[in-house]
């Protein structure tokens, strides 16, 4: 009975800790250097227009998106070659690695436009961003960090959700951005990109 209890405890421990224990940051770093750094940046902070930063993203977010690419559920042509056939273990290693990196803005982040920043900030509450992305907007579990992300990427992504060109793991984001004007998207993207 005591043995059974210990065994159970060990199994619970494993289950609860799977997002850390089963993955290997070092292996992920090695993979990322060869497969991801060219576009997403050597430190996971993208310096390339239209390409998202991955540093500090929740591990489960990275994992989920890679699985969606691999399974043909999210369509980004540039990602297909990198996701196709990638084993779960390597996806989890990559996710652990990117989650371990300190998040931060791109080197070319433009200067803050106070009016645009304020306009974006004013939309965060009405658009219920914090409900899923958490009050710090740093994300959790399968929901991404959106602060400090590249402004161009944020704007394009919100427009794609609004225009029905992208769905996520579900349609929550399509609902969240419905009816936003281009100017409102620009303001939100600027605000989020300026936040750390």
């Amino acid at each position: 009975m005591r043995l059974a209890g210990l065994l159970a405890a060990a199994l619970f421990g494993a289950a609860a800790a799977f997002s850390a224990a089963a993955q290997d940051v070092a292996r992920g770093a090695d993979l990322a250097a060869h497969r991801c750094a060219n576009c997403h940046g050597a430190d996971g902070r993208s310096q390339t227009e239209g390409i998202p930063s991955l540093a500090g993203q929740p591990a489960l977010f990275i994992t989920t998106q890679m699985i969606l690419f691999r399974e043909g559920l999210r369509h980004v042509p540039a990602m297909l070659a990198f996701a196709q056939g990638l084993p779960d273990r390597e996806i989890e290693d990559l996710a652990a690695y990117f989650a371990s990196l300190p998040p931060g803005p791109p080197d070319d982040r433009r200067a803050r436009d106070p009016a645009l920043f304020a306009a974006g900030q004013a939309l965060i509450g009405p658009r219920n961003c914090a409900v899923c992305h958490t009050p710090t907007l740093a994300g959790r579990e399968q929901v991404p960090r959106i602060v400090g992300q590249r402004e161009d990427f944020l704007a394009r992504t919100m427009a794609e959700y609004r225009d029905g060109e992208r769905v996520g793991a579900d349609s929550q984001m399509n609902g969240a951005v419905v009816g936003l004007s281009d100017a409102q998207i620009a303001a939100l993207a600027h605000y989020l990109s300026q936040r750390d």
């Binding site: 159970a8 619970f12 494993a14 289950a15 989920t64 769905v167 399509n174």
Partner: protein
């Protein structure tokens, strides 16, 4: 696939955009409608990657004396519904990962798993009729003929989507759009059409229903109304009555309302959503309705326990007391401060079909002291040898329960 989703999204945008004023508030995501300020409760994220075999928590499972649990199959992320072909192939549906698996048994008793289909939107409803596998992926209905002979190269499906005419994910507003489906003794396919919200006034002829169809999608019939969301159904092996599990609404307290077990005595019965659940009147949506005017649940199954798959035990391996009793998987709560469910219970019936008691059967996956869970039971399935399969959605494993005196 992508084109379809794009069109769906576009349709939603076109429908919704013009009526929104410039500063109109955006909809809160469906799961969070009614969430009190400051609450951090949210649905548990799904695991979409393979759990290494040594982390599959079969050792944590506790069963009554004489019962044993083993790992039947593993490495099948998101495994949920189970349907069995005439040659014994087990087909397993999923939600987020979009796959349908085919599991066959090797001569030595081990199993082999293939990813049969992928890239589908939440293919969680599976029905086997003869040699044909019916896949219900939200509103999409696909029939794969002669499937067991073509596990390595599934044929192009017959598309029955238009004939069934089920509501799309957009019509559901992203709420309760995935399906559970089962074959009735009358040869019809029974399924849920969940409600298009957490709780709301809805079109009660379109949502919050149990419905049945002829397999070709014709002859839609409402079997039960006012059923918020059922993700498990089965027909009584003797009386042929339809029974179903049903999820209660969120954000109405830790202990209310309860999930429930429904017995449908005649087609079209009304179980009261959104006004009532049993004797419980909804605090916001009761609208002065007397709860006694609605059909009452056969049993209450605990608050927020997330009752999913249910099957009558029709085998002979388990002791006689389990014959024709209902095994119910409770996937486990998120909308509750302390975890509930994460187990399999048995509803015992008397000769009149009244539930006399609900008792624990498979436990040990919920760690109350640390408020953690090791897996989430999503479906039960009785094999021909009388053993029982239980799918563990979170860890991507199927457990097999046997009995030895």
């Amino acid at each position: 696939m992508s084109r379809r989703r794009i069109l769906l999204g576009l349709a939603a945008a076109l429908v919704s955009a013009p009526v929104l004023a410039q500063q109109a508030p955006a909809p809160v995501p469906g799961w969070a409608v009614g969430r009190p300020e400051g609450s951090t409760l949210a649905p548990h994220a799904a695991r979409l990657t393979v759990t290494p075999p040594d982390q599959v928590p079969v050792g944590a499972i506790r069963l009554p004396p004489g019962f044993h649990a083993e790992v039947f199959a593993h490495g099948i992320p998101g495994v949920r519904a189970i349907a069995e072909g005439p040659n014994g192939t087990l087909f397993a549906g999923t939600r987020a990962i979009g796959r349908v698996y085919a599991i066959t048994r090797n001569p030595d008793g081990t199993t082999r798993t293939r990813t049969l289909l992928q890239g589908l939107a939440q293919p969680s409803g599976l029905v086997m009729i003869g040699n044909s596998l019916y896949v219900f992926a939200v509103n999409r209905v696909l029939r794969y003929d002669n499937i067991e002979a073509n596990l390595d190269n599934p044929p192009a499906p017959v598309d029955l989507t238009a004939a069934y005419g089920l509501p799309t994910e957009q019509e559901h507003g992203g709420n309760h759009h995935w399906k559970f489906a089962t074959l009735g003794p009358d040869g019809r396919i029974y399924m849920n059409v969940g409600v298009n919200c957490n709780v709301c006034d809805t079109d009660r002829d379109k949502f919050a229903l149990l419905v049945s169809f002829n397999p070709d999608g014709s002859g839609r019939r409402i079997e039960a109304r006012g059923v918020r969301n059922s993700v498990g159904m089965a027909h009584h092996p003797v009386t042929r009555e339809l029974w179903a599990t049903n999820h209660g609404r969120d954000w109405a307290g830790n202990d209310t309302p309860e999930d429930s077990l429904l017995r449908v005595r005649r087609s079209g019965e009304d179980f009261g959503f959104p006004y009532c659940l049993g004797s419980w009147a909804d605090p916001q949506y009761n609208q002065g309705r007397n709860c006694s005017e609605f059909s009452q649940p056969a049993a209450l199954l605990g608050p927020h326990t997330a009752v999913l798959g249910m099957r009558f035990y029709t085998g002979t391996m388990f002791p006689e007391q389990y014959r024709n009793q209902i095994f119910i998987a409770r996937r486990g709560s998120w909308n509750r401060e302390r975890l509930s469910g994460y187990d399999v219970v048995v509803a015992h019936l008397d000769a009149q079909g009244n539930v006399t008691r609900v008792e624990d059967f498979l436990t040990g996956l919920r760690d109350d002291a640390n408020q953690r869970f090791a897996d989430r039971p999503a479906e039960v399935h009785v094999l021909r040898d009388g053993s029982m399969l239980v799918s563990g959605e979170q860890m991507g494993a199927i457990y097999r329960i046997t009995y030895r005196q």
